[in-house]
Every structure is written in C-alpha cells, then in structure tokens.
C-alpha cells in the first residue's frame, strides 16, 4: 500500500439487539446502551452503540488490509466524538498517510450518515 491509498470501505448495520449481544460479549451492561427508556430518561435520543464496539469495527476495517490477520494491527488510537445508533449503517473509511518498513499508518473515520462517530483514528498495521 502507498501513501494516499484508501482501505476497503467497511459497511455494517448493527441490528436492534446488537448492543445486547455486545453487552454480553464485552461485559459492559451500561443501561444507556441497552435500555431505550433509561437512555431517553437521561436525555439521549435513544439507546446508543458502545463506543468500543464501533472501535472494533475500525480495527476490523484496518486489519482487512492484512487479510484480517490479528497479528497485523499494532496500534489503534481513536477519539469518540459522536453517538452511534442501532439500525443505522456504520461506514468506516481510511487513507494511508505514512508507509515505511513494512508498516502503514492509516487515518480512519467511522460515520453514520453525516454523523462522524469516530474521528482522528490512527491505525498502525504491519503489511510485511
């Protein structure tokens, strides 16, 4: 991969019950993710996706440049800047910004429509 190359776009739509399955898998049962009534009572528009599930989609999109090899992802840094919602498509895009010594650094964004839920994400992936 060369500087300026795009990574394959990842598109995934979390279904209504995905936050429940992720809560079980991760152990994060914060009610803002799994209880719509609770979420709206504390001022959110709805129950919201786990930020770390969205980060896992960013990780998956970046590992895809090394055929999904779990050894290839060396570092991932993200900033959570928006709320993600179930039943809306999440699109992860990325561009190579550095390339050296068999490693690439990829700038990544995850968005639902115009809502950038993860910005300034930077992944270091081994492509040797």
């Amino acid at each position: 991969m060369n500087v300026g190359d795009s990574i394959p776009e990842l598109r995934t739509t979390p279904d209504k019950y995905l936050p429940h399955r992720y809560a079980g898998a991760s152990g994060d049962f914060n009610p803002i993710h799994i209880d719509k009534e609770f979420a709206t009572a504390v001022g959110l528009p709805s129950n919201i996706l786990h930020g770390l599930w969205m980060m896992a989609q960013v990780a998956r999109a970046n590992a895809a440049v090394a055929d999904g090899d779990p050894r290839a992802l060396k570092r991932l840094s993200v900033q959570f800047r928006g709320m993600g919602f179930p039943e809306q498509e999440l699109v992860v895009t990325g561009t190579v910004k550095e390339e050296a010594d068999g490693k690439v650094v990829i700038d990544t964004v995850a968005a639902q429509g115009d809502n950038q839920v993860i910005r300034n994400a930077e992944a270091e992936v081994s492509v040797a």
Partner: protein, 146 residues
C-alpha cells in the same frame, strides 16, 4: 471549580482473566470478526497460533475490569453521571489465545482541566502467563462541568 489532580500516578491492584474458547467465539460474533482463526482450533493452529486467537479488540474484555476501581476511586473523584469515554488507544504485543491467563495493571497517568472539562487519563498494561506484554491501553475519560 478546579479538578483534583492528586491521584495522578496512583496505581490499583492488578486483575487476572483466563481466556475461554466460547467467550472468544461470542466476542468474535458480536463484532463481526470473520477470520476463522477466532473460532476454529485447526484454522488457528494452521495459521501459527497456539490455540484459537482473540480478535485484537478482545483486549477490552480482559483489561476493562482493572479500570473499575480506578474510575470509582473517591480520590480520583470522577462524576460518573457526566463522564464520557473520550478517547482510547491500544498498542498490541503478543497475540492472546484461548487458555492464556492475562494480568492487567492499572495506573492513573494524568488528570488535567481544559475548557471547563476534566480529563482523566489511565493506562493499563496487560501481560500473559509468560510475562510477555499483550496490550497497553490508554483510556481518556472526560467529565463535563467540573
């Protein structure tokens, strides 16, 4: 009101986590990790792993429990009602496989105030049963209205 910064540098007890096969499969399904090395023993071994290997972001499953006491510590003084998970970084080392016993040590790196918000930065260092580092996490929590 200024944030309390006395807890910067404080450490909390380490936690241990034993990695189980069905937990890795459950996690891989929840995040859509498609590679068969996260489910199938033969595929994992053929790819050079000791056993079924966890997706990289499985690190939150074994390292997050160490963060609980840090976030709840009155000396740190985080107002949970207005806390947001602002940023996260992981740096991976040795892959984590089924059967591994992972130890995670948490520490508060820094606490500072910016634009009326409190920034609480923690680090977790996780190692396997052989003492090899598997992941280093930097967790940034932001508290509004400090």
């Amino acid at each position: 009101m200024a944030v309390k910064t006395e807890a910067a540098g404080k450490e909390w007890p380490e936690t241990t986590y034993e990695v189980g096969l069905e937990k890795v499969r459950e996690y891989a399904n929840a995040v859509g990790a498609e590679n068969t090395v996260h489910r199938d023993r033969e595929a994992a071994e053929a790819a050079g792993f000791r056993d079924v290997v966890a997706p990289p972001m499985f690190c939150v499953v074994y390292s997050a429990p160490a963060m609980g006491p840090a976030i709840l510590d009155p000396e740190v003084g985080i107002n949970l009602a207005t806390m947001l998970h602002g940023g996260q970084e992981f740096v991976w080392g040795e892959p984590v496989c089924v059967g591994d016993v992972i130890t995670t040590k948490p520490r508060c790196v820094e606490i500072y105030e910016q634009d009326g918000k409190g920034f609480y930065v923690f680090e977790t260092v996780s190692s396997n049963q052989d003492g090899a580092e598997v992941v280093r996490g930097t967790w940034t929590n932001i508290v509004r209205g400090v």
